[in-house]
């Protein structure tokens, strides 16, 4: 008849967790890493993902950076080469997939148009850019598909606050 004193407390906590837990794995910042299996062109582009996961749905921003060269950090605002909205994103237990909305029209991180200088010459087109990735809380690996070309890519989780601003060109002063 006598119950263990921890039982009601554990029950309450369990029920509370059941009712208000949201699924957030893969939410956060992911930065593209270059290695032998996932080579990057010298002076090419590097990608940074700012993702938000809500259950099985995925959204966020892809930020493109001009690679300044070996031993230099490409993920600086001065290297910004435009941002794009993540569209049609889906997330599973170990997989992430999304396409880039309006890849030909890059957005700006702020109203001053910071990217314009660092993005010359204009990067190559990537028609129908789609990412299909697989991994865990630390690493995502997979492919970036541009038209008929699949490019192997690898991302590692980074700390920081995700970016939610990607201004359209017509909003630049």
């Amino acid at each position: 008849m006598r119950a263990r004193p921890t039982t009601p407390v554990a029950l309450l906590i369990g029920l509370s967790v059941l009712g208000c837990t949201s699924e957030r794995e893969f939410s956060g910042i992911w930065q593209q890493i270059c290695d032998d299996a996932h080579p990057c062109a010298e002076g090419g582009l590097r990608y940074e993902l700012h993702l938000g996961r809500y259950g099985d749905a995925l959204t966020g921003i892809l930020v493109r950076y001009r690679d300044p060269g070996p031993d230099l950090d490409p993920f600086r605002k001065s290297n910004d080469c435009g941002c794009f909205f993540v569209d049609s994103g889906r997330a599973g237990d170990e997989t992430v997939g999304f396409r880039i909305d309006a890849l030909g029209v890059a957005g700006y991180p702020d109203s001053e148009g910071t990217r314009s200088l660092s993005c010359e010459p204009a990067p190559p087109e990537c028609p129908g850019g789609t990412f299909l990735l697989k991994g865990d809380a630390d690493v995502l690996e997979g492919t970036l598909t541009c038209g008929d070309v699949d490019v192997p890519v690898r991302f590692e989780a980074a700390t920081g606050r995700t970016r939610t601003v990607c201004l359209a060109p017509e909003r630049i002063e």
Partner: protein, 463 residues
């Protein structure tokens, strides 16, 4: 919340004062003690009649019967009569184990005495008497113990130890005042020695507290009452816990036994009835944590956590009137479709079937719930969750179209509650309560209905 707890403490403190007014034992005796009252146990030992030491007869003493009957008349006492006390002592396992050994030692000592092995007789009989007294055999068969000590005194007398013999003879007379050596049958020197011992006792009789200095070996730790009968009075010694109380009563009073019983009763604890005082309280207040979820919602299940307070009034046997209020805030669903916290205030009231069983209390009730549910904002579009208005193209998220806004709603519906509580100490209890409701009226259809949840509370039985 802190104000509510302070109110409960203040009102509870006042309730303690009202619920337990100081009452005399005599006044409490006139009240119904109730089935849960624990009476004070008193073991009355077989009386020790010392009248023969003083040359008086052993006629029945009406005051002795009056004393026992007087104590038995008090409803708060559980009086164990002398016969029952003797049986309890004799029934103890230690007594039953030690008695054969003591009697064997006594038999060997007596045989040594008959065979004139006086030193062995003195030693063996002394061991036997000590063993008898250790187990309380003198309270069951005082004559047997007194005769054993008498034999030891005779052995000492024959060894020429007149001082030791006199002490042993006095001790044997105190244990068995009626046992006498007979002139013409026993040695005259022994008869004279015993008479001298009796005269010494008659002239300087030991006080009752010296005779009854040790608490008798009765079961448990209850009070014991030992009685000595003298020609003109009764003397009693009461052992209660660590206390030793002595009293005496002259026998010439018409109601001597009852008078002595009244004084003994006044020295005893009244008994214990804490449960009766607690369970008679009618108003129970509690406060604690509340949790629930809407089993019908436009999004996946999400928890609501907050605080609650409940008042329960015992209107009649098995019938309580309960009112409860809670204030909660929502968590998030798995998809985070719920975009803003939803505060919910709930008030329920209604009758309940309530029953108590010792420390446990169970209640089942029905009633009406009136709730106020704050604005509800939902969306299933992930872009509307991630971006702020103005930061995302309308083709990905149109905040006007893709986000649903519902205003504050008032709802009314029937509710069912089930509860159980366990009294911890005094009037403080801990409880759990489950509740389910269904709304039949609402001012705004926000899609939220059928709340199911529970509470964990700490309460106080107030009045």
């Amino acid at each position: 919340m802190s104000r509510l707890l302070a109110l409960i403490l203040v009102v509870g403190a006042a309730g303690v004062g009202w619920a337990a007014p100081p009452t005399s034992d005599a006044a409490r005796l006139n009240l119904e003690l109730g089935p849960e009252f624990t009476r004070t146990t008193v073991w009355i030992l077989p009386p020790l009649d010392h009248r023969p030491l003083l040359g008086a007869g052993t006629a029945p003493v009406p005051a002795l019967e009056g004393l026992i009957a007087g104590l038995q008349a008090y409803a708060n006492l559980d009086v164990r009569t002398p016969d029952r006390t003797s049986a309890a002592i004799a029934g103890a396992a230690a007594y039953r184990r030690a008695l054969p050994l003591a009697r064997s030692a006594a038999a060997r000592g007596s045989e040594d005495y008959r065979q004139v092995r006086l030193s062995a007789a003195v030693a063996g009989l002394g061991e036997a008497v000590d063993a008898f007294i250790d187990i309380g055999h003198q309270l069951v068969a005082g004559t047997e113990v007194g005769r054993t000590e008498l034999t030891r005194g005779l052995a000492l007398l024959e060894t020429g130890d007149e001082v030791g013999a006199a002490a042993a003879l006095r001790r044997s007379l105190l244990l068995a005042p009626g046992v006498r050596l007979r002139a013409g049958v026993d040695r005259q020197a022994a008869v004279d020695a015993q008479e001298r011992a009796r005269v010494v006792l008659a002239e300087n009789l030991p006080a009752a507290q010296a005779v009854f200095a040790q608490r008798p070996p009765v079961p448990g730790k209850a009070a014991t009452l030992q009685i000595r009968i003298l020609p003109d009075r009764l003397e009693v010694v009461l052992h209660d816990g660590g206390r030793l109380v002595t009293d005496q009563q002259a026998l010439d009073a018409p109601d001597a036994g009852e008078r002595l019983a009244g004084r003994v009763w006044a020295c005893l604890p009244f008994g214990d009835a804490p449960r009766r005082r607690i369970t008679s309280r009618k108003l129970h207040l509690d406060a604690g944590f509340a949790w629930f979820l809407f089993t019908k919602a436009p999004v996946e299940l999400f928890g609501n956590v907050g605080v609650s307070a409940t008042a329960s009034w015992n209107a009649a046997r098995y019938l309580a009137l309960e009112a409860s209020a809670s204030l909660t805030n929502s968590g998030r669903d798995r998809e985070e479709d719920l975009r803003a916290d939803v505060p919910v205030g709930r008030f329920t009231a209604g009758p309940a079937f309530a029953t108590d069983a010792g420390r446990l209390r169970a209640a089942a009730g029905v009633g009406v719930e009136v709730s106020v549910i704050g604005p509800v904002q939902t969306t299933t579009n992930p872009a509307c969750k991630y971006f702020r208005p103005g930061d995302v193209p309308a083709r990905l998220c149109d905040f006007e179209q893709d986000v649903d806004h519902r205003a504050t709603a008032w709802t009314v519906g029937p509710t069912v509650t089930l509860g159980a509580s366990l009294r911890l100490v005094d009037a403080i209890y801990v409880g759990v309560r489950a509740q389910g409701s269904m709304y039949v009226f609402r001012t705004v259809d926000n899609g939220l209905d059928r709340p199911v949840g529970g509470q964990i509370v700490l309460g106080y039985q107030l009045f």
